[in-house]
C-alpha cells in the first residue's frame, strides 16, 4: 500500500491517514475483498501512533469503504472502490475552495443554486 503524508497538510493526522488510505485503494492494488496491511504495520511505516491509524480505519469503516471482520482483519468493502476516489477528489476540492475563501457551507450553497 502506497502512502504519502503531506507535511504542509494541517488537518488532524487521522484525517490525513484516512485520505492516504482512500487514495491508495482508489489507485488500485487493493481490490474489493482484499485485506489491508495490519494497523501496526501501517503505523510503523508512517512513523506514527497505531491508535491514529486505528482511528483512520474506523472512520473509513463508518464511511463504508472498509469492513472489519473477525479473523479476516480489515478488508475493502465490495462496491466501494469508485466511491473512495470520488470522496478523495471531493475533499481535495473542498480544501482548495476553502483556501480560495469558499468554506464548505458556501460550496453547499453554490450546489443548491445549481440544482
Amino acid at each position: 500500500m502506497l502512502l504519502r503524508l503531506d507535511p504542509q497538510d494541517r488537518r488532524p493526522l487521522h484525517e490525513q491517514v484516512a485520505s492516504a488510505i482512500r487514495r491508495a485503494i482508489a489507485d488500485g492494488g487493493y481490490p474489493a475483498g482484499s485485506r489491508l496491511p495490519p494497523a501496526r504495520d501501517l503505523a510503523a511505516a508512517l512513523g506514527i501512533n497505531p491508535n491514529t491509524v486505528l482511528r483512520a480505519l474506523r472512520d473509513l469503516r463508518e464511511e463504508g469503504l472498509l469492513e472489519f471482520r473477525r479473523g479476516r482483519g480489515v478488508t475493502v468493502r465490495a462496491g466501494a472502490d469508485g466511491r473512495s476516489a470520488l470522496v478523495e477528489r471531493l475533499q481535495a476540492f473542498l480544501r482548495e475552495a476553502d483556501r480560495a475563501g469558499y468554506p464548505p457551507r458556501e460550496i453547499i450553497k453554490l450546489i443548491e443554486e445549481m440544482r
Binding site: M1, L2, G29, P37, P38, D41, L42, A44, A45
Partner: protein, 339 residues
C-alpha cells in the same frame, strides 16, 4: 506410472517400512524385555527412567508419525516434485528422520534385551547417541543425493518492469505490505506443540530425546514462524524486509545498493519450497506464498526477491526513489530523513 506417482509411492513406502520396523522390532522382542522398560538414561549412562511397554511404543510411533506427516504433507503439488532441490531436501529429511527413529528404537531395545528389571538395563552413553546421529545424517545425505536425480523443471518466469510513479516522490512517501501464509503459521504451531509434548515426555524418556528431538522441533517451529509472515517496506531508507509476525529480525537494503527493480510472479515450485530459498549471494527468494514478488538486483549482481502484495506500487516507488537518489547525488543535494 508417472514420475510423481513413483516419488509419492516410494516416500509413502519408506514411511510405512520404518513404522512397521519399529512395531515389529518392539513386539517381536517383547518377551525378552522387562516391563516397564528403561527409557531414560542419566548423564552417567545408567538408566534412571522407565515406561510401560505400550506407552513407550506409542510415543516412539507418535513422534515419528508427526515428523513424517509434516514432510509428506508437502507432496501434494506435482510441480514441486519435478524440482530437484525440493526432492533432495525432502529425501534427506525423511531418510534421516526414519533412520534416527530406527536407531532410537534399536538402542532402547538393545539396552533392555534379556534384562529382568529396567534398572539393570545396559548403559546408554553419548557415544551410542552420536553413532545414531551420524548414521542418520549419512543416510539423509545419501537419500538427498539420490533424490536429486531425475527431471528438473524451472517454469518460465514473468517479469514486469515498474511503471513510472504518478505522484511526486519525496521522503514522505512510503510503501508497506504484509504477506502471511496461515497454513505455514499453523504448521509451525504444530511443530511447537510437538516440541512441547516431547519436552514433557522427556521426563520419562531418555534425556537426550529432549535435545535430539524437542530442541530441533522447537528450532523448526521458530524458523517456521519467522518465515510464515513477512513485512516489506519501501521508503527513503531503502527496502526493508521484516520476518515473522513482529517483523523482527529485519533486513534493510539501502537505495544505493539497488541497481534494478521489477516484479515477478513466482511459485514455491520454482524456488524450491517455502521460506528463505535459493543461493545466498546469487539468487534468493523469501517465498511466503505463490504470487507476486518484488525483485531487486543488488550492486553485487545478486538478485533478491520477496513475496509482496501490491508489488507493482512497491516496485514503482522503489525504482523512483532509487533514481531520485542518483539524481540527488549527482547534483549533491541532501535530503533530511523523515520524522
Amino acid at each position: 506410472m508417472t514420475f510423481q506417482t513413483r516419488i509419492r509411492a516410494s516416500t509413502a513406502g519408506w514411511v510405512i517400512l520404518v513404522t512397521a520396523a519399529i512395531v515389529v522390532a518392539m513386539l517381536a522382542t517383547r518377551g525378552r524385555l522387562p516391563d516397564p522398560i528403561a527409557t531414560h538414561w542419566g548423564p552417567s549412562g545408567q538408566p534412571d527412567g522407565r515406561m510401560s511397554f505400550l506407552p513407550a511404543l506409542l510415543i516412539f510411533l507418535a513422534l515419528w508419525a508427526a515428523i513424517a506427516a509434516g514432510l509428506l504433507a508437502t507432496l501434494f503439488r506435482d510441480s514441486l516434485l519435478t524440482h530437484r532441490g525440493y526432492r533432495a531436501g525432502l529425501g534427506a529429511l525423511l531418510a534421516g528422520a526414519g533412520v534416527f527413529f530406527l536407531g532410537l528404537t534399536g538402542t532402547t531395545i538393545a539396552a533392555n534385551l534379556d534384562r529382568t528389571d529396567w534398572a539393570d538395563a545396559r548403559p546408554v552413553g553419548l557415544g551410542q547417541v552420536a553413532l545414531v546421529l551420524v548414521v542418520a545424517v549419512a543416510a539423509g545425505a545419501g537419500a538427498g543425493a539420490l533424490a536429486r536425480r531425475g527431471p528438473h523443471v524451472e517454469p518460465i518466469r514473468t517479469h514486469a518492469r515498474p511503471e513510472p510513479l504518478s505522484l511526486a516522490v519525496d521522503e514522505h512517501t512510503v510503501w508497506i505490505t504484509r504477506v502471511t501464509n496461515r497454513f505455514l503459521t499453523g504448521l509451525a504451531g504444530v511443530f511447537l506443540v510437538a516440541a512441547a509434548a516431547t519436552a514433557i515426555a522427556s521426563l520419562v524418556l531418555p534425556r537426550w530425546v529432549l535435545f535430539a528431538i524437542a530442541l530441533p522441533l522447537a528450532v523448526i517451529a521458530v524458523a517456521g514462524t519467522a518465515l510464515s509472515s513477512v513485512r516489506v517496506e519501501v521508503n527513503w531508507n531503502g527496502l526493508t524486509v521484516g520476518y515473522g509476525p513482529w517483523a523482527w529480525p529485519a533486513r534493510r537494503i539501502p537505495l544505493s545498493e539497488i541497481t534494478e527493480v521489477w516484479t515477478e510472479r513466482r511459485t514455491p515450485a520454482q524456488v524450491g519450497g517455502w521460506g528463505y530459498r535459493g543461493l545466498p549471494g546469487a539468487r534468493t527468494t523469501v517465498m511466503i506464498r505463490a504470487g507476486d514478488c518484488l525483485v531487486i538486483r543488488r550492486r553485487s549482481g545478486a538478485e533478491f526477491a520477496v513475496s509482496a502484495d501490491d508489488a507493482r506500487h512497491g516496485a514503482a516507488l522503489l525504482d523512483a526513489l532509487r533514481q531520485q537518489l542518483r539524481v540527488d547525488s549527482r547534483t549533491s543535494r541532501t535530503r533530511r530523513s523523515p520524522r
